[in-house]
């Protein structure tokens, strides 16, 4: 069997695709990659369909050993990179660039500083059985991915391919993962549960991401938002990116592993164009918001899809220049601040 062997599991590393749709009425959350854009980019770079399942890593990346003839992979995330050890030599592969690794080589994904997630795609994807139409892992109910859980040391993650062909490696230099200066949102569905003052405050001040930031959601802290009609509603559905405000007035943005329904009023919902960028924030990140119409949100999303549709054409040869590579290595070390502390496996 060809596989990726897990040498170090990271903090919370799981198999994710676009998510599990059609089962929310049975109480099954969609799950799926937090950063859909990173997932699509990583897949495009290794030659996969954009919706192929990837490994998502939260806060601390995993180290994987190649237990196949060869594997082509790419890591994508804000500030992310891959540290590769092959034939005794260590090199750093920047984000959004493919690399082909042979049997026995190791790759460690480095998640960007103050960034919640990065993804690693492998050419051909993983050889796993979908659960309810999806490979996405949902740990709270133990479904999808590897036995419904995050990876642990020693796992062998089966690959669809035993080998990959030799060809020029590529990079997607035009990929822009910068956080939007203001996250676009659509007010509602329960914006009428808040005072006019609360709505004004929410759209003019910044809210900081707290340490409670995971696949379920982001708890924010800032000026409390005052409810006009109490903070209990008769439960209704929860969309991805919905911002609920419980009794303490501090907003919570609900993400991929959110509960399917809930009883707190939702002041607004993040526009789908900016939802993936919430997978690139972390504790301490200050978020500002801007209200847009549904129509504007739809146009923004369509414009984003046009950019994504052009990615395959935009791929360039990965830079082979050793000098530049070393330059990049030092740059990456300075930025990540983690590499110096790394003591190997």
């Amino acid at each position: 069997m060809s596989a990726l062997r897990v040498i170090a599991a990271g903090l919370a590393t799981s198999v994710q695709d676009l998510g599990r749709f059609g089962y929310q009425r049975f109480g099954v959350p969609t799950a799926g990659a937090l950063d859909r854009v990173a997932m699509a980019a990583a897949n495009t770079i290794v030659g996969n369909r954009a919706d192929t399942a990837v490994l998502e890593m939260l806060y601390l990346g995993a180290t994987l050993e190649i237990a196949a003839e060869s594997v082509r992979m790419a890591c994508v995330g804000l500030g992310a990179s891959l540290e590769v050890v092959e034939d005794g030599a260590t090199r750093t592969i920047p984000a959004a660039e493919s690399v082909r690794l042979k049997h026995g080589a190791r790759a460690r994904a480095i998640v960007g500083r103050n960034t919640m997630s990065c993804v690693v795609a492998v050419e051909g994807g993983f050889a796993q059985q979908p659960v309810m139409g999806s490979l996405s892992t949902f740990t709270r109910a133990g479904m999808g991915g590897v036995d419904g859980r995050n990876l642990v040391v020693g796992d062998l993650l089966p690959l669809a391919r035993q080998d990959t062909e030799e060809r020029g490696e590529v990079r997607l230099a035009s990929l822009d993962l910068a956080l939007p200066p203001r996250f676009r949102l659509v007010l509602g569905p329960q914006d009428d549960y808040f005072t006019a003052e609360a709505l004004k405050t929410f759209l003019s001040e910044t809210y900081e991401v707290t340490r409670a930031a995971d696949r379920m959601g982001l708890r924010l802290t800032g000026t409390p938002l005052t409810h006009a009609k109490g903070f209990n509603i008769v439960s209704d559905g929860i969309a991805s990116g919905a911002i609920q405000v419980p009794g303490d007035g501090q907003p919570i943005i609900l993400l991929a592993d959110r509960q399917t329904t809930g009883g707190y009023p939702k002041i607004a919902t993040i526009a789908s164009v900016d939802l993936p960028a919430l997978g690139r924030v972390g504790p301490g990140t200050k978020l500002a918001f801007e209200a847009v119409s549904v129509e504007a949100a739809e146009e923004l999303r369509r414009a984003q899809a046009r950019v994504e549709a052009g990615w395959r054409e935009a791929l360039e040869p990965a830079t082979p220049d050793k000098a530049i590579r070393e330059d990049m290595l030092y740059g990456a070390n300075l930025i990540s601040g983690v590499a110096d502390a790394w003591v190997g496996d």
Binding site: F21, R140, V186, P189, T269, A297, E298
Partner: protein
């Protein structure tokens, strides 16, 4: 909700650019619930391009869609004729019997508190809870977790003032006029009055959740021994759910 003749006129509320809420009201009501469930059925039958699913709650339907395929404005136009002439006739679902142990500090830790609040004995609380058919309004929160109503008036209590960090799977709990059964161990603020071994969710089943909105459940009091035997069968995966059908 405004009424125009017999046609209900719900509100369309956006939830971003990937979901549209069709809100029939803001309270817990069997009439509203039936409208929601009937519309969900119609939306599923209509097969609108771009709609991935429609999730019913007590009083609203959330229609999830792909904004690259259909826009909210177009989706509303697709939904209007489905709402037109919608009736509040209740769906007839399956009828289930849930063997439940209403005994012991471990299985029914809040039975005493509920009895005290209701001015009843613990046996009377169990008897009242087991005496009525509970309608499944919705499945939500976590896989297979059903929200059922309505409780006998004497058992209608608010949530516990301090939620528990861990509520065991299978706990039968009541609050705010409703009953739920916890499918997974999770935090919870409802009053736990019993335990059932019924396997409510199995990803491998064609229909992973045992219950659907419109189904009814009657809880049947059983002894600890019976519960423990059923729990063992459930854990071994040999629980025959057909034995739970009231019409069998």
């Amino acid at each position: 909700m405004r009424e125009q003749g017999l046609t209900p006129v719900p509100r369309f509320l956006p939830s971003g650019d990937t979901a549209l809420v069709v809100e029939f009201g803001d309270r817990l009501d069997r009439h509203l619930s039936a409208l929601v469930l009937n519309l969900r059925h119609r939306v599923q039958e209509a097969g609108i391009a771009g709609v991935s699913e429609a999730v019913p709650t007590f009083r609203s339907l959330m229609v999830h869609y792909d904004p690259l395929i259909v826009r909210a404005r177009e989706l509303e136009a697709h939904l209007m004729p489905l709402i037109d002439g919608l009736e509040a006739e209740a769906l007839v679902g399956q009828r289930w019997l849930f063997p439940t142990c209403y005994e012991g500090e471990d299985y029914a830790p809040d039975l005493g508190d509920v009895a005290a609040a209701a001015g009843l004995s613990t046996a009377e609380v169990a008897a009242q809870h087991a005496a009525v058919e509970h309608l499944v309004y919705m499945i939500g929160f976590l896989p297979g977790q059903a929200y059922m109503g309505d409780l006998p008036e004497a058992l209608n209590l608010p949530r516990r003032t301090s939620p528990r960090i861990k509520v065991p799977a299978g706990s039968v709990a009541i609050a705010i006029g409703q009953t739920t059964v916890y499918t997974n161990e999770s935090p919870g603020g409802w009053h736990i009055i019993g335990r059932t071994a019924v396997p409510l969710f199995q990803a491998s089943r064609d229909r992973p959740a045992l219950l659907s909105p419109g189904d009814t459940v009657r809880f049947v009091a059983v002894s600890r021994t019976v519960y423990d035997d059923m729990q063992a069968a459930s854990a071994e995966g040999v629980f025959d759910i057909d034995t739970l059908r009231a019409d069998a």
